[in-house]
Amino acid sequence: MNGQSSQQQSKDGRHDDDAALTEFLASLMDYTPTVSITDLYLGITDRTAIVNNYADSQIPDELVEHYLGKSGFQCPDVRLTRLVAVATQKFIADVATDALQQCKARQSAVIKDKRDKQQKDKRLILTMEDLSKALREYGVNVKHQEYFADSPSAGLDAASREE
């Protein structure tokens, strides 16, 4: 009895996951599926149709298909291309959010006149320093050279440069 109930629960859990995944894949395309892609994998065919909103990615499909084709990834299914586009967008958004937090942290640390602070708050700019700090957590090491050695005073302190 216990075995049966736990089996039933795991089946229900799996059905919920399938339903959520079907809904998600359907939202990537503008159509109503009658048989979901996970059903095809698992061999289940009795499933009600799910209607959803159409979701798109900011990364265009042609660009994603170009890079996927360049690396040998073949898939005729457009939904999977959209899925990859959404995943990439999420990654970039996460990186940009971390960089934004770094930028805001730096602005709050520098306490000057009220006027200067307001001016800085208005202009949130993606800089190389913030980006390298944010990317370090993702395993990407970006190091930007601080100056170009094109003149003898390059890289010196401001005081010594005035001299």
């Binding site: 799996r14 996951d17 959520a20 995944l21 809904e23 998600f24 939202s27 892609i37 996970t38 994998y41 979701a55 798109d56 990615s57 900011q58 990364i59 265009p60 042609e62 660009l63 994603v64 298909e65 170009h66 890079y67 996927l68 360049k70 690396s71 040998g72 990834f73 073949q74 898939c75 005729p76 299914d77 999977l80 899925l83 990859v84 959404v86 995943a87 990439t88 967008q89 999420k90 990654f91 970039i92 958004a93 990186v95 940009a96 960089a99 934004l100 208005k122 202009r123 949130l124 700019i125 993606l126 800089t127 190389m128 913030d130 980006l131 990317l135 957590e137 993702y138 395993g139 930007h144």
Partner: protein
């Protein structure tokens, strides 16, 4: 700040698309420029007002590498399961591998449980459900405009290679991952039958008319006609 442009300017900056551009742009530069616009849009939606050029280019480079990494991992996982075309589990495996650097809930028993319960996919589902979509800033050209020069003529007739082959085009026997079959253009429409058959006598007559000067030319045109006939026969 030196070298910063506002993100709005970046979006309105069009990548060179016109035919009369003097300097030819390579395919990789073109796709990089488009990716840069997309990344600038994403940064703007996150909250940035401007970006340093070098930072934006670095982020775009990372975007392209991320896309290629997903593609390589997905293709590798499908190939190791004796398949050439990738499917949903392959993508989930690829995304899990890439997300394992940062870590996600459930990464300790990775792939031992069902792939459908992976936290990677669940995060994506939540993102798509609760986020407003913003369309791409620039109208993109048709896919065949990526290439410059002679190749463009070939691709103009084919359009999307995969769809042509998959939808029962004339070259159904050719696998879709091969480059497109060149369309040979017919120049002289002489004595041509309904199905493109041209009698050998007509060719000889034509050769005699030209005084056997253009013998090579009409021989080549004969071969072209045969090719075209074979192509049409496949329909």
């Amino acid at each position: 700040m030196m070298g910063t442009t506002s993100l709005r300017q970046k979006q309105q900056q069009q990548p060179p698309l016109d035919d009369d551009v003097v300097t030819p742009i390579s395919e990789s530069e073109f796709s990089f420029t488009i990716a840069r616009v997309a990344v600038a849009q994403i940064c703007q939606s996150v909250g940035f007002k401007g970006a340093q050029n070098s930072a934006l280019e670095a982020l775009t480079d990372i975007t392209t590498r991320y896309l290629e990494a997903i593609a390589k991992l997905g293709a590798a996982s499908s190939n190791s399961n004796r398949r050439t075309q990738s499917n949903l589990p392959d993508i989930i495996v690829a995304l899990e591998d890439l997300a394992s650097v940062q870590g996600f809930p459930g990464s300790s028993d990775i792939r031992s449980h069902s792939l459908w319960t992976s936290a990677v996919i669940k995060d994506l589902m939540k993102l798509v459900k609760y986020r407003d979509e913003i369309p791409f800033a620039q109208p993109l050209p048709a896919k065949n405009r990526f290439f410059q020069g002679a190749k463009r003529k070939l691709l103009k007739h084919r359009g999307d290679n995969q769809r042509w082959y998959c939808n029962g085009g004339s070259c159904r026997h050719v696998p879709s991952w091969l480059p497109p079959v060149p369309v040979v253009e017919e120049k002289d429409k002489g004595a041509e039958g309904k199905k493109g058959e041209v009698k050998w006598e007509c060719w000889e007559e034509r050769g005699k008319k030209n005084g056997n000067v253009g013998r090579r030319r009409w021989k080549r045109s004969a071969i072209m006609k045969i090719f075209k006939y074979q192509e049409r026969e496949g329909k």
